[in-house]
């Protein structure tokens, strides 16, 4: 349940098909924080978007009590710090070393792992082999980090799990469209198992966009 700050207005400017935007939906739902969502058309940016994220003009943006924050990982940590009483689900552990590890993996997801998979799914014939090799290498290092844990956060969903929504959900759709086999039960059994736990988690399940709509959206992009 939300903490004492639940009378303060929380707004999210996002895009339903974007995993970065979706991270914020998942985080607020896990914390039980009600919020107002506005869908942004990036080809026709709203005045609010330009006002709340003048530097990058991108989504997601969180607006809390009139204060705006951009960059999904920055927003996630803010959400974790503000809604942090015992009833709220904590995304980061208390211990500084494990907090550092979580931050390291979030950064590595965004800097290395997501780009490698994205590139492989959109690569042309020429670059395909190398791109796929790099994507598989990236998934391997992620699986090595998971080890035998149920979630990256341990028994419960943590910061890295939220940040890895692209891996848990988007990858299966994109690889199907691209005709690739990247995250499969044969190649990465532990990571695959994690993805199934993830998408069936009661809160996560409600927070992810519908599969068929997401499939149609990316399939249409692939045709362009």
């Amino acid at each position: 349940m939300a903490s004492s700050s639940d009378n303060e207005e929380v707004r999210v400017l996002g895009k339903w098909a974007s995993p970065f935007s979706n991270r914020i939906d998942l985080a607020l739902k896990l914390k039980g924080v009600p919020y107002k969502y506005s869908e942004e058309d990036l080809a026709n940016k709203s005045l609010d978007l330009l006002k709340y994220n003048p530097v990058h003009k991108k989504v997601p943006v969180l607006v809390h009590n009139g204060n705006s924050i951009a960059e999904s990982l920055v927003i996630l940590e803010y959400i974790d710090e503000v809604w942090n009483n015992n009833n709220n689900h904590a995304f980061l552990p208390q211990d500084p070393y494990h907090r550092a590890l979580a931050r390291f993996w979030c950064k590595t997801l965004d800097d290395k792992i997501l780009p490698a998979i994205w590139n492989a799914c959109w690569s042309d014939e020429k670059g395909r082999e190398k791109a796929v090799e790099e994507a598989l290498e990236a998934l391997k290092i992620l699986q090595d980090e998971l080890k035998d844990k149920k979630f990256f956060g341990g028994e419960t969903i943590g910061l890295v799990d939220i940040a890895a929504n692209f891996i848990g959900y988007w990858v299966s759709i994109l690889q199907e469209i691209a005709g690739l086999e990247l995250l499969t039960i044969e190649k990465f059994p532990k990571l695959y198992e994690w993805s199934q736990e993830y998408i069936n988690h009661p809160v996560i399940k409600e927070g992810l966009p519908p599969r068929d709509e997401l499939f149609a959206f990316f399939k249409a992009s692939a045709k362009k």
């Binding site: 809390h64 204060n67 924050i69 500084p96 070393y97 390291f104 950064k107 590595t108």
Partner: protein
Amino acid sequence: MGEVKLIGTHQSFPCARIEWGLKIKGVEYEYLKEDLSNKSDLLIESNPVHKKVPVLIHKGNPIAESLVILEYIDETWKDNNAHSLLPQNPYERALARFWAKFIDEKCVISVWGACVAQEGEEKEKAVEGAIETLSHLEKQIKGKKFFGGEKIGYLDIVAGWLSYWLSVLEELGEIELVNAERFPCLHEWGKNFINTSPIKDCIPPREDVLAYFSFGINYVRSMAPNKA
């Protein structure tokens, strides 16, 4: 002693960030100098994912990525007389993290791009882009002595390369980005920052930074496709 080790190279500004953070907190550490052309087993074991410096090793636990290490330092050594690196208020912390990401991504890339670009329209455009990026920082520092307020904080440490490494890049790239006319507040901040202890106690000799960047710039230029 022996509890805190830093694997790094002196010319690298991400490594300098860690020294600044540790010194501000009054933490003793052992500096393990790394030869990046011949990476040590310790580096590869401690940072198998990226194999890069800096890496902080505390009680045998390795941590990589300079921004992550800075937050770790701030959270671990918080009872000393030394002040906090990050603000206490969650919104201000979020802003500091936002700007740190901006500096580490947009600024570094645009400045590097402006230096590497060779003459002509491409260079002009790259320089314009770098100036536009840096103008955001000018706005952020206006009216403040440091990004952290009265004392050096996390964002000052992250932006610290602008106070010294930048001038080397400008020289190599034959450009001028930050000067007193264009960015008076950022220029002033840079002078204050680099002349404050403990910052000034751990900056590498200019000729080492020159050699380090020179190698990098020439390499990148040699890889660029030939223009018809």
